[in-house]
């Protein structure tokens, strides 16, 4: 019997200690989730543009939606709660089209830009934390065809296209729609030059990586057409002649994402005739004319040609980390983490299985995690918004491989 008792005494601690996964299983459901926002409409097609976290822990998602009688895309704004569950949505009137990233938090409200389908004038839309959308207001100053916008202090830095003058406009606008500074840059003369831009809008050609931003030193930059070529252009907005240009290869090569780190150092990704490269430490001469093909970088054959790349800088485990988000040939979303200071690859993660997935945007969350918004095709055919929420431990795992 002593032996029998001994066996029991061995089993009890074995059970207790091996049951640790019971305690570890007490997970806060807001930390990690995957949500697909489906509806039962066969003819519905919704593609996200950007996502932002609200003060209540939920999320605002700005989406484009297919319209029946135009190549332009309509606008849908969705509010979901901190668990990712759908709360409400608003379809803006069909005359408001082409919503663009970024979705910007300024003064407690979220803002994004779109345009009027008839006048092509840029409009500003405000959303509150509950997802309530104000009527779009026209931005003054005759700005058309919005391409990309980003926050610039309490203002908005906007890249737009003027098809009358064949110029890229870079403007600083307030949340009241007024313009405080603006500069125009020629795309080059000739009818064919603007064709890729118009095809970008009408979704009949490539989706081009337009972007605008500002370095910590105050230099503005935009990725757009300049002098017949998709180029990264550096300017102080004082003149239509740029300070420097990083040239691409017409619309076959150039940068697909960019983020200023310090001095002349940028984190970028580039594409060149179907190939994709990640360059986490790129030294770019902001005062001269150079070429994007000189940036070399890490070629990623698993990315399809001309695919979207999103890029952000965040802190994980007290380390500055660059996270690239893109799509793979196997129709998954790929996250690549790089050490922001050394440029070394830290790890990768793939999101999504079985259905096709495509990334639209991503943003850090208040709990140290990351939310990635994209498109999936439910039942292989219905374009729906998918939201991946990763927690801090996921990012630690991503950067510790």
């Amino acid at each position: 019997m002593r032996k029998h008792l001994l066996h029991i005494l061995i089993i009890i601690p074995l059970v207790i200690f091996s049951s640790c996964d019971l305690e570890d299983n007490d997970v806060i459901p807001t930390n990690r989730f995957t949500k697909i926002y489906d509806n039962n409409r066969f003819d519905s097609s919704i593609t996200p543009i950007d996502v932002a976290q609200t003060a209540d822990g939920g999320y605002i998602i700005v989406n484009s939606r297919r319209l029946e009688n135009t190549d332009f895309l309509g606008i849908n704004v969705m509010k979901v709660d901190e668990l990712g569950n759908f709360v409400s949505q608003t379809d803006l009137a069909d005359n408001f089209v082409q919503p663009i990233a970024d979705l910007m938090l300024i003064g407690g409200n979220f803002y994004f830009l779109c345009m009027d389908a008839t006048s092509l004038v840029v409009h500003l839309v405000a959303i509150d934390d509950s997802g309530a959308v104000t009527d779009p207001a026209a931005v003054s100053g005759g700005l058309f065809y919005p391409l990309h916008a980003t926050i610039d202090g309490t203002n908005i830095l906007l890249q737009s296209y003027n098809n009358d003058n064949k110029e890229t406009d870079i403007s600083i606008i307030g949340t009241d729609g007024s313009i405080s500074a603006s500069q125009s840059f020629t795309i080059g003369s000739g009818q064919g030059v603007e064709e890729p831009i118009i095809e970008h809008f009408t979704r009949t050609g490539k989706s081009l990586p337009f972007m605008v931003g500002r370095t910590t030193g105050g230099t503005y930059f935009f990725n757009g057409f300049y002098n017949f070529t998709l180029s990264m252009v550096f300017t102080d907005l004082s003149s239509g002649d740029p300070n420097g240009v990083l040239q691409g290869q017409q619309d076959d090569g150039g940068l697909s994402s960019a983020l200023h780190l310090s001095g002349n150092t940028f984190a970028v990704s580039r594409f060149n005739f179907g190939d994709n490269y990640i360059v986490p430490q790129a030294s770019i001469d902001m005062g001269g004319t150079t070429s994007s093909v000189d940036l070399s970088g890490n070629q990623l054959p698993e990315l399809p040609p001309d695919t979207k790349v999103d890029l952000l800088l965040t802190e994980v485990n007290s380390q500055q980390v660059l996270i690239y988000g893109s799509n793979t040939n196997s129709k998954q979303i790929l996250l690549l983490a790089y050490d922001a200071s050394a440029g070394d690859l830290l790890g990768t993660q793939r999101l999504g299985f079985s259905n096709p997935y495509e990334i639209s945007n991503m943003t850090p969350t208040a709990d140290g995690g990351l939310v990635v918004v994209g498109t999936t095709f439910v039942a292989g055919r219905f374009a729906r918004v998918v939201l991946f929420k990763l927690d801090e431990s996921d990012l630690v795992a991503l950067t510790s491989q």
């Binding site: 008792l5 049951s19 299983n25």
Partner: protein, 295 residues
């Protein structure tokens, strides 16, 4: 959520249940002239026995959802809520039975391999708002196999000492998951591609180890009958088993789920199980030189 303290309490109870037996054994050795010794030698011998044998049988499982989850968050219809199929899918179990019997009570350790199966199904429908006859219906039948290495401790009470002996039993079990798979059968009708096109036979099978936690703890109660044939003891019992905790791995519910694309996410769920088990037991103590253990 089950804490370590409560786990300890459960197994401490099992230990206490064992204790009288241990004490009785000890007392018998310390006081050989006690009342027990007044019985005939054979009868006294029969008051205690060790049995060792094999068990095998089948089981049916019901998964009880505590909190429901889905990878789909419907904005308009298509909830895709799961309908669980309770006690419909047969699993199997097989293992060893080591039992100590004393004065009608048996204390049994029964390590076994156990496959438990549970299933649910859900359906989705999409309709063209411009043409209500243009629809797509999809139906998912989702079957889960969970293989456990299980260590139950069971107390039995025999109602009489005959060749045909009914008994009741109760106890607890600890199991560790060694393998899990998930199979999804997809059927549906596509009425949007020019004609009514029914499709079936599409099947996905994935490894699901990451979707469930390793631990399985529970309690059980049941009834059965022993039948003695020569030295052998044959037994049949029916037990109902209550899982004491959520078996879904909450951390991996979405991120490790390869089927999130079809809207699937495991609910938080307890497992309840009905087991039917046959046993063949051999005595380890013999009463006579010709190896008869019973009269």
């Amino acid at each position: 959520m089950l804490t370590r303290a409560s786990l300890f309490a459960i197994f401490a109870c099992l230990l206490v249940v064992y204790s009288p037996d241990l004490q009785a054994q000890k007392n018998r050795r310390n006081y050989p002239g006690g009342g027990q010794n007044r019985k005939p030698a054979n009868q006294k011998f029969l008051e205690t026995q060790w049995w060792l044998g094999f068990k095998w049988g089948a089981n049916l499982t019901s998964a009880i959802p505590e909190q429901r989850f889905s990878a789909f968050s419907p904005t308009d219809g298509n909830t895709g809520e799961k309908t669980y199929e309770d006690f419909k899918h047969l699993g199997v179990q097989a293992g060893i039975d080591a039992t100590f019997y004393h004065k009608g009570f048996s204390f049994s350790f029964q390590p076994n391999y156990r496959r438990q199966r549970f299933a649910y199904n859900n359906s989705f429908n999409w309709t063209d708002s411009n043409d209500p006859t243009s629809t797509l219906d999809l139906h998912y039948d989702q079957d889960h196999n969970l293989d456990y290495l299980e260590l139950p401790l069971i107390v039995k009470y025999d109602f009489r000492q005959d060749a045909f002996t009914p008994f009741v039993q109760f106890g607890g079990y600890y199991g560790t998951l060694i393998n899990a798979t998930k199979k999804v059968d997809i059927t549906g009708t596509d009425q949007a591609s020019g004609a009514s096109n029914a499709f079936e036979g599409e099947q996905l099978v994935i490894g699901a180890d990451d979707l469930f936690i390793k631990t399985s703890l529970g309690i059980l109660a049941g009834v059965g009958v022993n039948y003695s044939v020569g030295n052998l003891r044959l037994a049949f019992d029916v037990s109902y088993r209550w899982g004491l905790h959520n078996v879904t791995n909450a951390k991996n519910r979405f991120t490790e789920n390869r089927l999130a694309g079809i809207g699937d996410a495991l609910d938080d769920m307890n497992m309840q199980n009905l087991s039917f088990t046959f046993s063949t037991l051999f005595p380890l103590r013999f009463i006579s030189k010709n190896f008869n253990s019973i009269d």
